[in-house]
């Protein structure tokens, strides 16, 4: 069974090669078939391997397959190998499952696009990279996948590259990611330097021996790795690329910027949980940034008018939740939310895609409204997802978000303020999501007649994935029902072996910090639900019942509204503080250092050479007597030189 592990990334790679190399030569249905079949095959194998893994006893649930030694250079010994343990099993199921659904959806969405073949080639390449990332058994191979998904993200964001905004967005994503990658690399080097290997299993075993818990070194490594995570997973301060990434096709936004790539940072931190548990200061930083990002992004989402922008900021915000979970040493909750988020956020994006498709590419919500009667399936599934994300009890999002909130309050690494921030954000999330629903599907129809004539429900290729995801959004959380409901938290048990080693380092007063116990948990849960319902009601009020209230409040708080609408002017600030100076420095280095010094040096050298050549050639006078003279002078000088020695 271990032997089949490599098939999981291999299938999408084959799909990429076929679609990529035979670009333009295959028929549309062939391209569809190759792309979707490869991901489907990966999914099937993932499923089979999952059951294989499950059949193993809990503490030895690891399947590893090393394909070959990649770098055997001195002390650096890096394998090309895959590791399947409970954590990566969850990830591959999410990636291949949701990926497959999105591939199917794309066959319908991208039907009329001329760059069809290229799209699916890139999408397969992305799937391959993502699977490499989550299945890698060492940091270096994971980094390869990390960079691969970054590359595919760039290619797919800038898919319609003739549009300047799209190609700019692609570049921005890549560059901002690179900044994060730099931190990742330094962290990786430090790990290698002290542990001597980049292999996950080796690092996990050696870490308690090599590092001192709480020392500056471990904290530095964790913070550096986290910098990489902030780049890839769009946290403060490197989140700015994600909203711009909406320039890409909507299924891309669904797959890459909601369900899979952006979760890579969370996965990486969960994978490295032992080091983070040894560095509580780093955990605190992670938690704080996660919480801050969650709140920050949610506030921006309140004021956005583009349907995809709202969802983008929502993604940033939900990612903040996941990091918050990790930061309070509840990695399981983070991964759980990752999974449920994949379901409902992908659904939200695909639904938005369906809406945009129906509205003839119109994305501004101010020109939508009342679509529910035109797009029933889209509406229902979208609503399910919205309920999930808002944290309505019974839906998947409720269980995962609730666990995060509880752990941020009660965990030894947690703090009530963190809970408070999460609590407020939950309300804001509900508010802006229902604002979106009301503006888009309910109320007056604000679109022009031309557009209205073309509104149509999407074809089955697009609606069936929506339905599947809808079901998952509802039931997906039922495997992680917390204890207080009396059920077994399957998810937590499943991931326990992976997080076990780190538990040693959990702060001593864990038991005591479960302050209050069950009753506090119930109380906080009920408080949150009430707050969320209140937020939904306010949204209903503002955007459905009495929309003039929304306008009135907007006018009263114009300054605040503008600030939110312009995303706190963060991009402009970055531009002035960072981008401009770097550009100026490059110009200086070019015009002065390169042209004047370096070129001048080389040219001067050549001129000197030429000059000495002229000088030396004058020695050859053409007269034999001077030849003989030089002969004799040479002899005399050599004798003199040797005698002087």
């Amino acid at each position: 069974m271990a032997d089949y592990l490599y098939l999981i990334p291999l299938f999408p790679l084959i799909g990429f090669l076929i679609n990529g190399l035979l670009l333009g030569k295959l028929s549309r249905s062939m391209v569809n078939l190759v792309a979707c079949a490869s991901v489907a095959a990966s999914f099937v194998v993932s499923l089979l391997l999952f059951f294989d893994l499950k059949s193993l006893p809990p503490d030895s649930r690891v399947i590893e397959q090393v394909l070959f030694t990649w770098i055997p250079s001195g002390t650096l010994h890096v394998n090309f190998g895959f590791l399947l343990d409970p954590l990566s099993a969850v990830m591959i199921l999410v990636v291949t499952g949701v990926g497959f659904l999105i591939h199917v959806y794309s066959t319908g969405y991208m039907k009329h696009d001329p760059g069809f073949g290229r799209y699916f080639a890139y999408l397969n390449l992305f799937t391959f990279s993502m699977l490499t990332l989550v299945l890698a058994n060492n940091y270096l191979l994971m980094f390869v996948g990390w960079e691969g998904v970054g590359l595919c993200s760039y290619l797919l964001i800038g898919f319609w590259f003739e549009k300047k905004s799209a190609s700019d967005a692609g570049k921005k994503a890549f560059i901002v990611n690179r900044i994060g990658d730099f931190g990742f690399l330094i962290g990786m080097f430090l790990i290698f330097w002290h542990v001597g290997s980049l292999d996950f299993r080796v690092v996990m075993e050696q870490a308690p021996i090599v590092f001192i818990a709480g020392s500056g070194l471990v904290t530095a490594i964790c913070l550096l790795l986290f910098v990489g995570a902030t780049g890839k997973s769009a946290q403060i301060p490197l989140y700015v690329w994600l909203p711009d990434a909406m320039e890409g096709p909507t299924p891309v936004s669904a797959l890459i910027h909601a369900a899979t790539m952006v979760t890579a940072g969370v996965y990486m931190i969960a994978r490295t949980n032992i080091l983070y548990m040894m560095a509580p200061d780093a955990l605190m930083v992670v938690a704080i940034i996660g919480a801050a990002t969650a709140l920050f992004a949610a506030t921006i989402g309140l004021a956005q008018n583009d349907i995809k922008r709202v969802l983008a900021y929502s993604t940033v915000s939900q990612l903040g939740y996941m990091f918050l979970a990790c930061g309070v040493a509840s990695f399981t909750a983070g991964i759980f939310h990752l999974m449920t988020h994949a379901f409902f956020k992908a659904l939200l994006f695909l639904g938005a895609g369906s809406v945009i498709h129906a509205m003839s590419e119109q994305q501004d919500m101010r020109y939508m409204g009342g679509l529910k009667k035109y797009l029933p399936i889209t509406y229902i599934t979208f609503l399910l997802a919205t309920l999930a994300i808002s944290g309505i009890p019974g839906f998947s999002g409720f269980f995962s978000k609730d666990e995060i909130l509880w752990k941020s309050f009660s965990s030894a690494n947690g703090h009530p303020i963190l809970w408070a921030i999460g609590f407020v954000t939950a309300g804001l999330t509900a508010f802006y999501m229902f604002r979106l629903v009301y503006m888009t599907f309910h109320g007056k129809e604000r679109m022009d007649d031309e557009t209205r004539k073309h509104i149509h429900e999407s074809p089955y290729s697009m609606t069936v994935p929506l339905m599947v995801l809808g079901v998952l959004s509802v039931i997906g959380g039922w495997i992680g029902i917390p204890h207080i409901f009396g059920a077994t938290n399957y998810f937590e048990h499943w991931l326990e072996p992976v997080m076990a080693a780190g538990k040693h380092f959990a702060p001593v007063h864990t038991a005591a910090a479960e302050s209050g116990g069950a009753s506090t948990e119930w109380m906080l849960m009920i408080l949150t639900v009430v707050f969320v319902l209140a937020a939904i009601f306010i949204a209903y009020l503002f955007y459905n019942k009495r929309t003039e209230l929304a306008t009135a409040w907007r006018q009263r708080l114009t300054g605040v509204h503008n600030l939110l609408l312009n995303k706190y002017y963060v991009d402009e600030i970055y531009g002035a503080i960072i981008v401009r100076p770097v550009i100026n420095l490059s110009l200086f280095l070019w015009k002065v250092v390169d042209v004047v010094f370096i070129d001048g040096f080389i040219n001067g050298f050549a001129t000197m050479y030429d000059g000495s050549s002229e000088f030396m050639s004058k020695m050859q006078t053409g007269r034999v007597r001077s030849y003989a003279t030089l002969f004799v002078i040479g002899v005399v000088i050599l004798i003199a030189y040797m005698v002087m020695e």
Binding site: S613, Y627, A628, V635, V643
Partner: protein, 504 residues
């Protein structure tokens, strides 16, 4: 005089068979040309080439051994160099048919015969184990070359080349003999192996002989430096190469240099074996030759860039190549001498090939100016390409043979410098070598640029004639094959080092 017991040393002419044969064949070529009715213009030349081939065959079957006492010693080093001499003579004659067809009417036999005689001298030289036979071999090599350089009596440049070669050559020959006399005086014998021991022992007891030894060293270096065109004894080379007939210039550049190399190796590496390395200062010839090698590399590569005549440029380039070879010579380890042998071997193919092409072009167009090669790639692509290959091999571009030649030379020096702490000065020399090798690419590439990247196509359309084409093919084959697969030659060259007492 001591007793009347005269013991005859072993006279064994068998070991000298190739030389004797070639000598007689040279006389035969002379005679043939005088007596024949001169119907065919190429008969004498083909005869000469045939003679060379037969001599080579005889060489292959001659056993190693000593004849005529220590005057004649046939050993692996000698065999290797004899192959080079025969090869260079063969290729020189092969490329000369076009030029000699028109320009030499009456004395064709002498032309080829003299080349053969010069080759005999070189072969004799490489087998010598003694100062006397070395000197005679050297003279037998050079004197025919004096004549050959001025063979085109009506050409002003040729006679000028001849007289310059002669005067400087005779001068250096006198210096050489004077130097040899000191060596003889210090050691009491002319036998090189015996000299090695005697001088070392004398030096141990009488440190004062140091001054005389320095004198001897320098004078002999001057005499041999002339042959090798090592600065400051190089000034005849550009003029002689430019003025003399192209095949003779080719022969000079390879054969005469190889002769100088083997003579140098015998006297210094063998005879003055102990006197290498700074600890023997002031008597060490190592640093002395090292300095001259640097001068060769710097001067050759620097002045070559401003030359407009291709033969002159090739002369400066060969001055530089000698510099590289001498690096191998001063490193006294097994790889050093082997690298010298490999270098001259690779150099033979590249240089003879290059000169062959120059000869072809000169025959067709009458010009040796670099500018006249402009645009050649359009009209004669084969010629241009082969020329480019030869030039790149000279420049040391992989995967051609010239690259490995330079590589082995530098590698041997570095190896020596790492193994022996006192040989640190070798690092400097290798540094100079590397730097100047980079510079040299400029003037080689310049010709390639003129041929391939000129705006207009050449007005000349140059075809190959049969023997020259064969020579060029041999050259290309050698350069490419030994570039891809240098091991056999390197192995053969390593045997040379055994003759000099280096154990691998």
């Amino acid at each position: 005089m001591s007793s009347m017991d005269i013991t005859f040393p072993a006279f064994d002419l068998r070991f000298m068979a190739p030389e004797i044969f070639l000598f007689l064949w040279a006389l035969f070529v002379f005679a043939y040309d005088v007596t024949s009715k001169r119907k065919s213009s190429t008969a004498a030349g083909y005869l000469a080439m045939l003679g060379l081939m037969i001599a080579g065959a005889i060489l292959a079957y001659t056993n190693y051994g000593q004849g005529y006492g220590s005057m004649f010693l046939f050993e692996p080093a000698a065999k290797f160099f004899k192959i080079i001499f025969l090869g260079s003579a063969f290729m020189a004659i092969g490329s000369s048919f076009g030029i000699t067809k028109e320009r030499i009417i009456n004395h064709r036999g002498e032309f080829f015969g003299l080349i053969l005689l010069s080759t005999v001298g070189m072969m004799f030289l490489s087998s010598s184990n003694e100062l006397l036979s070395l000197y005679i071999g050297l003279e037998l090599t050079t004197i025919p070359l004096f004549v050959l350089a001025s063979f085109f009596k009506d050409n002003k440049l040729s006679v000028e080349a001849g007289i310059k070669y002669f005067i400087v050559g005779a001068f250096s020959s006198a210096l050489l003999v004077y130097g040899m006399s000191f060596l003889y005086g210090l050691s009491g014998t002319t036998d090189l192996v015996q000299m090695k021991i005697n001088i070392a022992m004398t030096h141990l007891t009488f440190k004062e002989i140091g001054v005389i030894l320095v004198l001897a060293n320098v004078l002999i270096i001057a005499g041999l430096g002339f042959k090798l065109s090592l600065p400051p004894f190089h000034q005849w080379a550009p003029d002689v190469y430019e003025g003399s007939p192209t095949p003779i210039a080719a022969f000079l550049s390879v054969g005469s240099k190889a002769a100088g190399l083997i003579a140098f190796a015998k006297i210094f590496v063998n005879g003055l074996y102990a006197f290498n390395g700074p600890e023997m200062a002031p008597n060490d010839w190592g640093i002395l030759v090292g300095i001259l090698a640097c001068a060769a590399m710097i001067l050759g590569n620097t002045v070559a860039i401003r030359q407009t005549n291709i033969k002159r440029m090739l002369a400066y380039s060969s001055i530089a190549q000698v510099g590289y070879i001498m690096i191998g010579m001063v490193t006294m380890n097994d790889l050093g001498i082997a690298s010298v042998g490999f270098y001259i071997f690779a150099y033979m193919f590249a240089n003879m090939g290059a000169f062959a092409i120059v000869a072809i072009f000169e025959e067709r167009t009458g010009s040796c100016e670099i500018q006249s090669y402009a645009g050649l790639s359009h009209t004669s692509p084969v010629l241009a390409t082969t020329f480019a290959v030869f030039l790149l091999s000279l420049a040391g571009i992989p995967p051609l043979a010239g690259f490995f030649a330079k590589f082995f030379v530098f590698a041997s020096a570095i190896k020596m410098a790492q193994a022996d702490a006192t040989a640190g000065w070798l690092y400097w020399i290798v540094g100079v070598g590397l730097l100047t090798a980079v510079f040299s690419l400029y003037y080689y590439a310049n010709i390639i640029k003129v041929m391939f990247f000129s705006k207009e196509a050449s007005p000349y359309r140059v075809h190959y004639t049969f023997p020259s084409f064969g020579i060029v093919l041999i050259g290309i084959a050698g350069v490419i094959i030994f570039g891809l697969y240098p091991e056999p030659i390197l192995k053969f060259a390593s045997d040379i080092s055994l003759s000099f007492g280096f154990l691998p």
